[in-house]
Amino acid sequence: MATIDPLLVILFMANLLILVLVILFVVKSGCFSLQNKIQFWLIAGYILLLLASPVVIQMLPKENFADERIKKVSEKDLYVQADLYTIAQGASPEQIKGVFVLEQWEFPYNGSMLNVVVRPLYEYDAVIVVERKDSADGKIEAVNYASKPIVELIDLSEIMKPHKVALDGNVLKVTAPEFLQIELGVFRNEFVISQILGDTELESAPWRHGSQLIYLRVPADVEVQSEASVHFVEKQ
């Protein structure tokens, strides 16, 4: 037999002791001298409340439910490991599975120099990839690619916040997305259910980090410079 943490044993025993005391207190007590009728209605009320709860739960407004706001991920998506860094190494974003466009921008631009700044500086390493277009069409296109963050089989990409990209003179400002903190409540099936129906898929489901990448396509005649690290790729 596996060794058991003595602390757990003590906690378990303490729990049992409390339970015994509660049962004995209720059963033995002269201090619990409820009229039989009150006792009966208390118990009946409790059972009725429980019987009603499956109905009540159906009627609760569910706008705050993950299931409602976020699509459940499919088996297919789950095992796609989307690595955005291959883009930085020259892969075409469209060819990578699991990568999607979170947001895109287009700016008319006639200058010859473009300064890309990242805010907040030093605190954030944005991954920026720059591709020089074939022609000088006077347009800067920016695409915010992302891979799906998947937690407990839930695709959180819908609530992912994109970067902010703005052009001011010859400065293209890339601002990090608002930091999102999400609390998720999930329910495990009771062991009596899982004995018969098997464990929920959750148990084995992997988690996926979501990551983001800013892909800039600049006119052929624009020179890009930046204090942040910028990856240049050639158009394939």
């Binding site: 002269g30 001298s33 409820l34 009229q35 039989n36 006792q39």
Partner: protein, 300 residues
């Protein structure tokens, strides 16, 4: 046929012999008083009759059946004592309703009237009653159940004198209305003596006497007079009780039929003859030592 019959009934608890070789019968529709000092085995005997305990040896028959674990005996018998337990969550009136379901002959009207008379609150809980009130309530159950065999084991524990009197009167009147076999155990005879038909004396786990109570008063006589005269007269008699009175007088209790011849002579010999009170006789017959507590001090 008899309601109860026991043949050489013996009951031991471990090494303790609670009942020893008891043989008796109790007929139908009689009120029998089971009298004996504390520890005589009264409760044990009654519990065997009720089927709660098993006889170690011998044969017990109640309604011609072995009472132990017998549903038929249980359904026709009720056993009232101060150890009776009821569910704590039930009020007295709910307990009465439950009892009514169990006993075919249950008389709810009687129970209600007794409730009123003894001013018991039907909404009260049994475990909240005082000792005397508990006994009163138990007694009401015992009476209202109207079982062909009704056993009261020391039913008046904790009752005050007035209630005790009322109880015995209620018992008698209900018995007159619906005769049945009733056994009442007590360590004192005097207060139940009148309503009894038979008396069963038990002491040290042995049967001492079973007789109609009307014969009990004539069962023995007491003689008082000079010690040597008494000693001469009573030589060879069974002496139930003996006590020294004054310097050279003594007081003895002997069987009346054995003494019949002596009694005539007694007056002439200067002896006084007394009747013996029934409850005194019971004490004499069931006491551990002849001569009573005085015997402790006499040879001191």
């Amino acid at each position: 046929m008899d309601v109860i019959s026991c043949q050489e009934l013996t009951k031991t608890f471990g090494r303790v012999r609670a009942l020893n070789n008891i043989t008796f019968t109790i007929g139908q529709n009689r009120i029998t008083g089971l009298i004996g000092p504390n520890g005589a085995g009264k409760t044990t005997l009654l519990k065997i009759i009720a089927g709660f305990l098993r006889a170690s040896s011998g044969e017990v028959r109640v309604f011609s059946e072995d009472p132990f674990n017998n549903l038929k005996v249980a359904a026709n018998m009720i056993f009232i004592d101060d150890q009776m337990r009821f569910p704590q969550s039930l009020t007295l009136s709910e307990i009465l309703a439950s009892a009514a379901a169990f006993y075919e002959n249950w008389d709810m009207e009687l129970a209600r009237r007794l409730f009123d008379y003894f001013s018991l609150d039907p909404e009260q809980y049994h475990h909240k009653l005082s000792k005397g009130m508990k006994s009163t309530f138990n007694m009401i159950i015992g009476l209202a159940a109207r079982c062909p065999l009704t056993i009261f084991d020391e039913p008046t524990t904790g009752m005050d004198a007035g209630v005790r009197k009322d109880f015995y009167r209620a018992l008698l009147r209900d018995y007159l209305r619906k005769p049945r076999t009733i056994i009442i155990s007590s360590h004192l005879l005097n207060e139940i003596e009148d309503i009894l038909e038979d008396i069963f004396l038990l002491s040290g786990g042995e049967k001492r006497l079973q007789t109609p109570v009307s014969d009990l008063k004539e069962f023995a006589v007491a003689l008082r007079g000079k010690r040597e005269v008494i000693d001469k007269l009573t030589a060879g008699q069974e002496i139930y009780y003996q006590k020294s009175v004054g310097k050279d007088h003594s007081y003895v209790v002997i069987r009346r039929d054995a003494a019949e011849g002596l009694l005539k002579k007694a007056g002439r010999d200067g002896l006084e003859v007394f009747p013996v009170k029934a409850d005194d006789l019971c004490v004499y017959l069931t006491s551990r030592k002849r001569g009573g507590i005085d015997s402790v001090f006499d040879r001191y």
